[in-house]
């Protein structure tokens, strides 16, 4: 399967919107120290101040600048999203394609593990494991990756099974190519588009899960994240503070997730020709 990713994404309005919005978040994350203006963890005596020229979005209950927290929060979300997407897509690709090529008992074992993990809600496992192992950023990344590769592996396997029967793969096998060579040189390159979509959706899920976990108080208390901001702001919904504290944090998190979703969906018509010729708003 060969698709022109750039054309598919920029060809639809929603794809362009997604790229633009994600671009803004990436800029916030990369240039955070220049954009923020304050140290997001610095506590000041000026608590719960409404927005002003000095504090664009006011301050929170311990006098931290909300705008700076919002800007630095982009770093955590993107870092977690990107790392988890890399790791879990790698796992999906390796386990899915090797299961398809090797087959037999190995295939059965991998697929049963996939089935097993797909049904059980990962969040409860995460909570239990985090309760024991702590919840530093890297523990979260590894946990999210270990619990996130299964659905992708199933899709990769299905695709690899059909690729396996293609003539160029059969030809390579006739010339004596081993499984490792076949996976690296013939299967993985052709899986590109599928892996890209898998990458996008695991990034989306990781950002969502990290925010959710931080929202229920699981996460490194030293790093400022959008989920943690919402968790803190939740106590103050009876004050007007939610307008410039809770709302921006929730909106920027939603914007990030929507942007990633739109990019992913703009690739879908190309992945599934049956939906082709469709006008996606």
């Amino acid at each position: 399967m060969h698709i022109d990713v750039k054309r598919e994404v920029t060809g639809s309005a929603s794809g362009r919107f997604g790229m633009a919005a994600l671009g803004v978040i990436v800029i916030l994350a990369v240039f955070a120290p220049f954009i923020a203006g304050y140290d997001p963890t610095a506590q000041t005596p000026f608590a719960l101040e409404p927005p002003s020229r000095a504090h664009l979005l006011g301050t929170n209950h311990v006098g931290q600048d909300v705008w700076s927290q919002l800007v630095y929060g982009a770093r955590v979300s993107l870092l977690v999203g990107f790392s988890v997407a890399c790791l879990s897509t790698l796992l999906s690709a390796l386990l899915g394609s090797s299961a398809a090529l090797i087959g037999g008992l190995y295939d059965k074992v991998v697929m049963r593990v996939v089935d097993a993990f797909i049904t059980v809600p990962a969040i409860f496992i995460m909570i239990l494991v985090a309760a024991y192992l702590g919840s530093s950023l890297w523990v979260l990344v590894i946990l999210l990756s270990l619990l996130g590769w299964q659905a992708g592996a199933r899709i990769v396997r299905a695709q690899a099974l059909s690729l396996k029967e293609e003539n160029h793969v059969l030809a390579a096998r006739c010339f004596g190519a081993g499984n490792r060579y076949l996976i690296l040189r013939h299967i993985l390159p052709d899986l590109g588009p599928i892996l890209l979509v898998e990458f996008i959706f695991s990034m989306r899920r990781a950002i969502f899960m990290q925010a959710g976990l931080a929202f229920i108080g699981i996460g490194d208390p030293g790093t400022v994240s959008w989920g943690m901001m919402m968790n803190e702001a939740r106590e103050f919904i009876f004050l007007n503070a939610w307008l410039w504290w809770l709302l921006p944090a929730g909106l920027i998190l939603s914007l990030t997730i929507v942007a990633i979703t739109f990019i992913g969906h703009s690739l879908e018509p190309a992945m599934d020709p049956r939906l082709g010729g469709e006008v996606v708003a």
């Binding site: 089935d115 909570i127 108080g217």
Partner: protein, 323 residues
């Protein structure tokens, strides 16, 4: 389709969860009893109780024997004792489970129905204005995390407008009975259920819409038109019914997501189900409760998936002949 493989998958899933809850505390450095119960609980325990627990879980023996003891305790319904709630974990969970079942069941049914209807209507009008608006709207909604939707609903309808209750599942000490009680429960359900429906509509909707688009090209749709069937009959009895099948196979997967959603939404609305219980257990480091909830949730989700597998051939006769 109830095949042997899916049954095996369920058994493996449950074994993996069992193994995880068993190994995690025991592989932690230090006293396993402390890891299982948490250090605060341990301070309150008498030495006799400690000795009894070591004996009961065979903590002084090999890992294999410990696992045997762990499983046999489980099958007798002993999930441990919660020091925070001062009750056996099993009783704590059973007290909360009905609320979660009510919340999850109601939202799953409503969001699936709504998603199927909207998906059918949208797919039927593919590419036209109503379809495009609905698609863009629902896809954006899909990006809003359930806890954020919940918080927004809470702030708008609970705090600002003050028309719906802020927290809980019942008005405490109201002494309502009969119809009044029913209405009270319903009033407390409105916001959490709405939050869950809004957050989980997209999956059903997108899948139904996509299948609808493929189904509309099938030859039997042309036949239906040629026979002069009414639009509604074509749309629902012919195209719609066939577009529902993939949705039902997916219900199992979505159940997991709705349960996750319920966790967050329950926390936002302090709804006294398993999700809120999990939150309390995290706050008070009540490890036995966390383990118990994980086991029970896994068991419920697997059982529901099993049911879907059983029901599926009834809805799609083709599956019965396929094997």
């Amino acid at each position: 389709m109830l095949s042997k493989t899916s049954l095996v998958a369920y058994v493996i899933a449950f074994l993996l969860i069992l193994l995880l809850t068993f190994l995690l505390p025991r592989l932690m450095p230090g006293d396993p009893l402390m890891a299982i119960y948490g250090d605060e609980a341990l301070v309150q325990m008498s030495p006799q109780l400690k000795a009894e627990l070591v004996e009961r879980f065979s903590l002084d023996q090999s890992l294999l024997n410990q696992f045997g003891a762990f499983v046999s305790e489980l099958f007798q319904g002993h999930l441990g004792y919660s020091y925070y709630f001062n009750e056996p974990v099993f009783d704590v969970i059973m007290g909360r489970l009905p609320w979660t079942l009510l919340l999850v069941g109601l939202s799953l049914i409503l969001s699936t129905l709504l998603g199927i209807v909207l998906g059918i209507e949208s797919g039927w009008r593919r590419g036209r204005r109503p379809d495009r608006t609905l698609l863009a709207g629902i896809m954006s909604l899909n990006g809003f995390p359930d806890f954020f939707i919940g918080l927004l609903l809470l702030v708008i309808f609970g705090v600002t407008l003050g028309v719906l209750p802020l927290a809980g599942a019942l008005t405490p000490y109201s002494g309502y009975t009969g119809v009044a009680l029913f209405l009270d429960v319903l009033k407390h359900l409105v916001l959490p259920v709405t939050a869950l429906i809004l957050a989980h509509l997209a999956g059903t909707y997108l899948l139904t819409r996509n299948t609808m688009i493929t189904v509309l090209r099938a030859p039997y749709m042309l036949t239906a038109r040629a026979k002069g069937l009414s639009q509604a009959s074509q749309r629902y009895q012919h195209a719609g019914r066939n577009s529902m099948l993939p949705v039902l196979t997916q219900t199992g997967l979505w159940l997991g997501r709705v349960v996750t959603g319920a966790l967050f939404v329950e926390i936002v609305f302090s709804y006294p189900g398993l999700g809120y219980l999990t939150y309390e257990a995290i706050l008070y480091r009540d490890y036995p409760v966390l383990q118990g909830v994980l086991l029970i949730v896994a068991l419920c989700v697997l059982a529901a998936n099993f049911l879907v597998d059983l029901l599926y051939p009834k809805l799609d006769p083709r599956v019965r002949y396929a094997h």
